[in-house]
C-alpha cells in the first residue's frame, strides 16, 4: 500500500536527515570526536597508525575572555612544535568544569586532559580515574623534567604519594589597591595595609573622605580558597590533617570570619558581590580589593584606560600571626586510557609547564611562574618582571603558599558549598558568626563518608 511505503520512507528519511544534519553540523569535528572517544577502538587504532593524535582539552582559561589570547598562544606554540598532535581545546567555566568532566565521563566522551581546580583533586583521583604521572612517565624523566619546579606547588597535585595533577595555573590572594583613591583619602600609596586592622581603618577613611567603597574581600562565593587562606592566617584549619574532621567551625576559623563580618558591618567593606566588586574596582570606584592575582592583567588595562594607578600588596595578616596564602588555581589531569594519547598528553603537559610555557602563562595569561628561577632569567621573564613590578607580592607569596585543601568523598562539592554559603551569609548578617560556623561544620561533617 502506498501510504505504508510513504510512511515508512518518511520515517527513514526523517531519521537519516536528522543524522546527516548532525554530522554535517559537526563538520570537521566528526573525525575529532571519533578519535577522541577513548572507548572507541577504531579511533585508538587510527591514532597509533597515523601517528596523528588529537587531544581533547578542557580549559577554563578559555572561558575567561581576557585570558583567551594567551592560552591560545600557548596551545599554538605547542602544536607548531608537535605537528602530529592536535589540541582540541574546549572552554568550560571554572565553576562548572568538575561537573562538566563528570557529565562527560558519563557520556563516554571524557576529555583527554582536563584543567581541574584543586578542591576536586580527591574526587578526580577516585572517580575520574585520573592517571598518575608516575604510571605514564619513567621515573628519571619525571625527575629531570621537574628540576627547578616549585616543590611547594608540586605537592599540591599529589595524593597518596602519586602525582595525579600537574600544577598549571596558580594564583594567590593579592591585595590590589587604587593609588589615586589612597591619595584622595589622605593615605600613603607607598604604605599599603599589612594587617586587617589597618584594612578596616583605611577602608573607613576612604569611605569617609571620598565617598567611594573602601575595601572588598573577595572569595566568599565560588570556591573556598580565600576562606581557607583567611582561616589559616588566623591559626585555624578547614580540614584536619588526617582528612577526617571538618574544622571550619572551630574558634580560630570563626574568628577569621568574624573579622570579615566586622569589616562589612563597620562600612569599610562593601556589600557588593565579587563580580560587582571587580567591575567597580576596574572603574576606579573601590579602594582595595583582595582577590586572585589572575585579575592583574585586566586591572592594569582598566587602570590605564581610567587614568589611575594600580598597586598590589601581600595578603594582610591577623595581627602578628603569619599569613597563609592559599593558592587558587588548577592542575592538569590526564584522563585518557589510550597509551598513545597518554604520551602525547605528557608532551603537552611538559610544554605548558616548561620555562617557555610559564613565560607565556605569567606574562600573557596572568598566573604565577611555578619555575621561579625564570623570573631572573633574561631569556624568559626578567625584563617582563622589571616592567611589571606589580607581580612581586604574588611571587613572594609563593614561598609561604599553603595548599587548597580538597574535601574527601563524593560530597566534596556540597561541603565546599556549605562553607561558601555559610560564610556569605555570616558576613552580611548581624548573626553570631560562631553559631553559624559551628552549624556549618556539623552539616559538613555529616557529609564525610
Amino acid at each position: 500500500m502506498a501510504y505504508k511505503k510513504i510512511a515508512a520512507a518518511t520515517l527513514v528519511s526523517l531519521s537519516l536527515l536528522a543524522t546527516a544534519c548532525g554530522n554535517a553540523g559537526t563538520g570537521s569535528n566528526a573525525n575529532t570526536n571519533a578519535g577522541t572517544n577513548s572507548a572507541n577502538a577504531a579511533g585508538a587504532g587510527n591514532a597509533a597508525s597515523n601517528d596523528q593524535v588529537t587531544l581533547k582539552f578542557y580549559s577554563y582559561n578559555l572561558a575567561i575572555a581576557s585570558q583567551v589570547p594567551g592560552t591560545e598562544k600557548l596551545i599554538k606554540e605547542f602544536e607548531d612544535a608537535h605537528p602530529n598532535i592536535k589540541i582540541d581545546a574546549v572552554p568550560v567555566a571554572s565553576t562548572d568544569i568538575n561537573a562538566k568532566v563528570q557529565a562527560d565521563i558519563v557520556a563516554g566522551s571524557a576529555p583527554d586532559i582536563a584543567q581541574l581546580t584543586f578542591d576536586g583533586l580527591d574526587f578526580a583521583v577516585n572517580n575520574f580515574n585520573a592517571k598518575p604521572l608516575e604510571d605514564i612517565v619513567p621515573a628519571d624523566e619525571l625527575q629531570s623534567n621537574f628540576e627547578g619546579f616549585s616543590q611547594n606547588g608540586m605537592k599540591l597535585g599529589q595524593l597518596n604519594g602519586k602525582t595525579y595533577g600537574l600544577p598549571f595555573t596558580f594564583s594567590t590572594p593579592v591585595l590590589f589597591y587604587n593609588s589615586k583613591i589612597f591619595q584622595d583619602a589622605g593615605l600613603d600609596p607607598a604604605a599599603p595595609p599589612a594587617t586587617w586592622e589597618q584594612v578596616k581603618e583605611y577602608g573607613l577613611q576612604i569611605a569617609e573622605k571620598t565617598g567611594l567603597t573602601g575595601a572588598h574581600v573577595g572569595g566568599a562565593a565560588g570556591g573556598d580558597w580565600i576562606i581557607q587562606a583567611l582561616i589559616g592566617s588566623n591559626g585555624g584549619q578547614a580540614l584536619s590533617e588526617d582528612r577526617k574532621t571538618i574544622k571550619f567551625g572551630e574558634p580560630e576559623a570563626a574568628g577569621a570570619i568574624q573579622m570579615w563580618q566586622d569589616l562589612i558591618k563597620s562600612g569599610a567593606n562593601s556589600k557588593l558581590n565579587d563580580g560587582e566588586a571587580i567591575e567597580a574596582f576596574s572603574q576606579g570606584k573601590v579602594g582595595m580589593l583582595l582577590f586572585t592575582s589572575a585579575l592583574q592583567s585586566s586591572f592594569v588595562a582598566a587602570s590605564q584606560a581610567g587614568g589611575w594607578e594600580l598597586k598590589t600588596a601581600k595578603m594582610p595578616a591577623f595581627g602578628d600571626k603569619p599569613t597563609t596564602p592559599v593558592n587558587s588555581g588548577s592542575a592538569l589531569f590526564i584522563l585518557t586510557d589510550d597509551k598513545a594519547k597518554q604520551q602525547a598528553a605528557w608532551e603537552f603537559l611538559k610544554f605548558v609547564t616548561s620555562e617557555r610555557g610559564y613565560t607565556i602563562i605569567t606574562s600573557e595569561i596572568g598566573y604565577l611562574p611555578l619555575r621561579p628561577s625564570i623570573v631572573d632569567d633574561p631569556k624568559y621573564l626578567k625584563d617582563w618582571v622589571e616592567a611589571n613590578p606589580l607581580v612581586k607580592p604574588n611571587l613572594e607569596q609563593l614561598d609561604s603558599l599553603q595548599p587548597w585543601v580538597s574535601y574527601p568523598g563524593a560530597n566534596w562539592k556540597q561541603i565546599e558549598t556549605i562553607l561558601n554559603d555559610s560564610v556569605s551569609k555570616a558576613i552580611v548578617s548581624d548573626g553570631d558568626v560562631a553559631t553559624i560556623m559551628q552549624d556549618a561544620q556539623k552539616r559538613a561533617q555529616a557529609l564525610i563518608q
Binding site: A7, L14, S15, A18, C21, G22, A24, N29, I64
Partner: protein
C-alpha cells in the same frame, strides 16, 4: 448639559484606557529598545543614560562576532529549528489526521497520553534522556538536539483542532471520488489548512530557536551549539562588555524579531489560541 458631561466622561475613560495600555506597551518594549540602543553605542557612551545613541557604531557587533563563533552558532540554531519544526509538523499532521479521520480502539487513550505530556517538565526527564543521548554518542551533534524533539504534543493538539474544523462531508466526498488516504490528506485537506499549519509551524520554530536547556546539557563546544547557549556562555565569560553583550543578544533575537515584525497578527493569534509551554 448631561450629554456633554457624559461625553467628557467617555473621553477621560478613553484617555485612561490608552494611558494604561501605553504604559504596558512601554514596559514591554523598553528593554528591547534599550538592548538595541546600547548595542549601537560606542564604548565611551555605553555607561551614559542617553536614550538615543549620539554616535552610532557597529563596533560592538564586530567585537561580539569575533569573540564567539556567531555565524556557526546561528547556522546551527537555524538548522535545528528548521528540521525540528518540519519533523514536528509532519509527525503531528499524521497524528492529527489519524485522530480525525478514523475511529479506532484506544483513540481517546492515545490522545490522552499525548496530551498529558504537557505535565512532564524537562527537569523530571533530563537525566535519563541525557544518558540516552550519551549512549547514542550524540553529544555535540546536532542530531542530539533534534531527534528527541521530532514529535511535539503541542503540535498534535493544535493540529487536531485545525483538522477537526475541516468539514467531514468534504472528506467523504473526496473518498467517494477514489482518493487514497494519503492523497486525501495532502491533496484535499492540507491545501485548505495551510494557514493554521503555517502559524503552528512558526510557533514551533520560535520555541525551538529559543530553547536553551537541552543545548546546555548535550553540547560542550561553542562550534556545535546553538546561539542561545552561546549567548549564555558569552554572558558568563565576558559579562562586563555590555555593548558587545547587547549586540550579541540582538543578533540572537533578530530572526525571531524579524518573523514577528512580518507576521505578528498570526503569531499572536496562534499563541492566544495555542497557549503556553
Amino acid at each position: 448639559m448631561e450629554n456633554a458631561g457624559r461625553r467628557a466622561g467617555l473621553y477621560t475613560s478613553a484617555a485612561l484606557k490608552h494611558a494604561s495600555l501605553v504604559a504596558l506597551a512601554l514596559l514591554a518594549v523598553f528593554p528591547l529598545y534599550w538592548m538595541i540602543v546600547t548595542s549601537l553605542k560606542p564604548e565611551t557612551e555605553v555607561f551614559t543614560s542617553s536614550l538615543i545613541p549620539l554616535h552610532l557604531t557597529l563596533d560592538n557587533y564586530v567585537h561580539a562576532w569575533n569573540a564567539i563563533p556567531m555565524g556557526r552558532m546561528l547556522t546551527n540554531s537555524m538548522v535545528v529549528a528548521v528540521i525540528q519544526t518540519a519533523a514536528q509538523l509532519i509527525t503531528s499532521i499524521f497524528a492529527a489526521y489519524a485522530f480525525t479521520r478514523w475511529e479506532f480502539r484506544g483513540s481517546s487513550f492515545i490522545f490522552g497520553l499525548i496530551a498529558l505530556t504537557w505535565l512532564v517538565p524537562f527537569q523530571v526527564i533530563m537525566i535519563p534522556n541525557y544518558v540516552a543521548i550519551s549512549g547514542f554518542g550524540w553529544r555535540d551533534h546536532l542530531a542530539g538536539l533534534i531527534v528527541p524533539n521530532i514529535a511535539s504534543a503541542f503540535a498534535v493538539l493544535q493540529l487536531y483542532n485545525a483538522f477537526k474544523s475541516y468539514p467531514k462531508t468534504l472528506i467523504e466526498a473526496a473518498r467517494l471520488d477514489g482518493a487514497s488516504d494519503m492523497g486525501l490528506l495532502w491533496r484535499t485537506i492540507m491545501p485548505n489548512l495551510k494557514a493554521p499549519v503555517a502559524s503552528i509551524g512558526i510557533l514551533l520554530f520560535i520555541t525551538s530557536w529559543n530553547d536553551y536547556f537541552w543545548p546546555l546539557l548535550v553540547t560542550t563546544k561553542l562550534e556545535n551549539t546553538t546561539i542561545q547557549k552561546g549567548l549564555q556562555m558569552f554572558i558568563s565569560s565576558d559579562g562586563n562588555m555590555w555593548g558587545a553583550l547587547m549586540a550579541a543578544t540582538t543578533i540572537a533575537s533578530l530572526p525571531v524579531l524579524l518573523i514577528y515584525l512580518m507576521l505578528q497578527r498570526q503569531i499572536i493569534d496562534s499563541f492566544v489560541k495555542g497557549g503556553l509551554k
